[in-house]
Subunit: 372 residues, 2 copies
């Protein structure tokens, strides 16, 4: 994998860049739609291409349990299985084990857990997780990490950090396929000193990219912004910086401002399925009765396929009638909104206008000034 | 509306034709996908166009109850509301009142019923149903009819036929908008003499098209084929002949053989959502475990977008994981299959090879000879 920084913002840590993979390039800052079960929910891959998504995420935990990484390997890998020709990143499954499965037992060697699907018992070790990710065949793989639930005591946090470092070493030693790149995950909760210490430990492994894990898990926005401000700029300059699990417009913008290059979240697709759409003037809960006779497009400034063809009243009707097409149309629009926002961010950084673009966006979308 | 017969089969009653509406043409024999709630379930209208659907059906009963025909009129009519530029046919709501609603009271003037959505009481008369269909703005409207549940006594059937005729006269008198055409519906169950009598009564109204109602409602295939054989060829030659509620390949082919020009059914879209796909070699229940590692396309002879990009194993995985994309992909393929079958039928009638095409289809799809 090759990563190159293309432009730097003069006034912030924001930057644009390009990740080159065997499955093509991804322009950064990049928002990665989440395709948990080998599908971005409700979206045909041809539409993802049309929307300009350059890289999507798959969840190792889910794909390992169903349909199984061996089956996906038999299909020729995840790209072929889901018919997505572009770059893919798979997470390590660690976060899902801690958030979805029951009866976890963590020891220094790995994690034993029960499937959230059928209760069967499984074990993830760094070596096993790398084998699964080699089978899936994604372009970017993540190290197995331990993400303690917040608030966590200092001892618990230190133990999790120690394991995450040891597991990253074992993941690196286990190896990837030739086209794959392995990223490390920095933990440490909201404690900046722990974060910086862990970052130093991991950078000694000389991995091709680094992620911030354990954020956007319930801490305040202020705490997250503080960690981003104090930690992100210290991540290796010549490697992609990936903030895991972040996808609301405010958090994306503030993360990019601090030098983040990649982000992922189910946020735009999940709120879509719950009947809320992102527009130039903020979120619109189009499922509400207020929109029953609103014949305007979802977003009057938007030029996506949905906004050119359908009204809020029609979307609200589909949602009330529990029609499948509602999910497709709201998901399509929300992904268009975020991917278009990323294009605008890249262009603003390129043009040297990122701070004024950010100011405008906050005022229009959130009707307030951006945070300090 | 203009209807012209283009080609006639020498050996059967099959024929090709063209219906011209203000919203464009529909080549016949035409299969009409059903868009109950102003959407063909799971299908964006742009995909329907890509699939070559020329005319779709909307359900008056559903649209009247939700979102309401007045709301759809405010949106500029059903074409604009659902963003479907081609021809639309709306049924009269009569069949749905009898099959979906509770506490029906039928009298000579109309039908009082309760909504299946919220239990509220409503009344359909011929005049009201025409007002609703004018509001919806479809190109082809249907007369309000009474479809008795089978088996029905002769007196009950005669009463239903009498009402259907009287209501057809009142529908015609109530009038359509200038671009709309009103079709009559022939009832009479499986009794050929009653059917022919009713057909004679209705043809005296000189309507621009006629439908066979009350078939495919539980009677045997043999009974339906007998009615088609004895009745369809006597329907006015210069008007479209519409068989309501039929959509399985066998019944479509046998109906076309007897001279039917239009058909509609939820069959291909409903079995799709239940995980069964239509292929050149018969139905395939792709949700079954047998297909878990079957990396072939749904149909190896098919060239649709789904078959060119996805495997049975992938579809089976999406179905097991209850992923929304499964509905889109199986529905897309099944509609492609039936619409492609209709193109082949029209071409075979044109080329004079309909009977041998039919023989081939039956042997390949059903592994048996077609019925007498």
């Amino acid at each position: 994998m090759l990563f190159s920084v293309l432009h730097r913002c003069d006034e912030t840590e924001a930057r644009t860049g390009r990740i080159m993979t065997r499955h093509g390039p991804a322009e950064t800052p990049a928002f990665m739609p989440v395709g948990t079960n080998a599908t971005v929910k409700a979206m045909p891959p041809a539409d993802l291409e049309r929307l300009g998504a350059s890289i999507v995420l798959g969840n190792t935990y889910h794909l390992y349990l169903r349909p199984g990484d061996d089956l996906i390997a038999s299909a020729g890998g995840l790209h072929s299985f889901m018919s997505w020709p572009g770059p893919i990143l798979t997470d390590s499954g660690g976060f899902q084990v801690f958030s979805l499965s029951s009866l976890r037992r963590v020891d220094d060697d790995g994690i034993t857990f029960r499937s959230h699907i059928d209760g069967s018992e499984h074990r993830f070790t760094p070596e096993r997780v790398m084998e699964i990710q080699r089978n899936l065949g994604a372009d970017i793989l993540m190290c197995l990490d331990q993400c303690p639930a917040l608030p966590a005591g200092r001892d618990e946090m230190l133990r999790a950090i120690g394991r995450t470092t040891a597991w990253a070493e074992r993941c690196r030693a286990a190896g990837t396929r030739s086209h794959q790149s392995l990223f490390g995950i920095v933990q440490g909760g909201t404690d900046v000193d722990l974060r910086l210490d862990h970052l130093r430990e991991l950078t000694s492994l000389d991995l091709p990219g680094y992620a911030l894990g354990g954020l956007s898990v319930g801490e305040s926005k202020e705490d997250m912004y503080r960690v981003l401000r104090e930690v992100a700029p210290h991540m290796p300059e010549d490697r992609p910086r990936y903030l895991m699990g972040v996808g609301s417009p405010d958090a994306i913008i503030e993360a990019v401002r601090r030098g983040v290059d990649m982000l992922d979240s189910v946020y735009p697709t999940r709120i879509a399925r719950h009947g809320t759409v992102l527009t130039s003037y903020g979120s619109v809960p189009v499922r509400n009765a207020a929109y029953a006779r609103d014949f305007r497009p979802l977003d009057e400034r938007c030029f996506c396929h949905v906004c050119r063809n359908f009204s809020r009243a029609y979307l609200r009707h589909l949602i009330k009638a529990e029609e499948l097409l509602a999910h497709y149309l709201t998901t399509y629009h929300n992904l268009h909104f975020l991917l278009q926002m990323m294009r605008e961010i890249r262009e603003a950084v390129h043009q040297g206008t990122f701070l004024s673009w950010r100011e405008d966006f906050w005022h229009r979308f959130y009707r307030c000034a951006p945070p300090e």
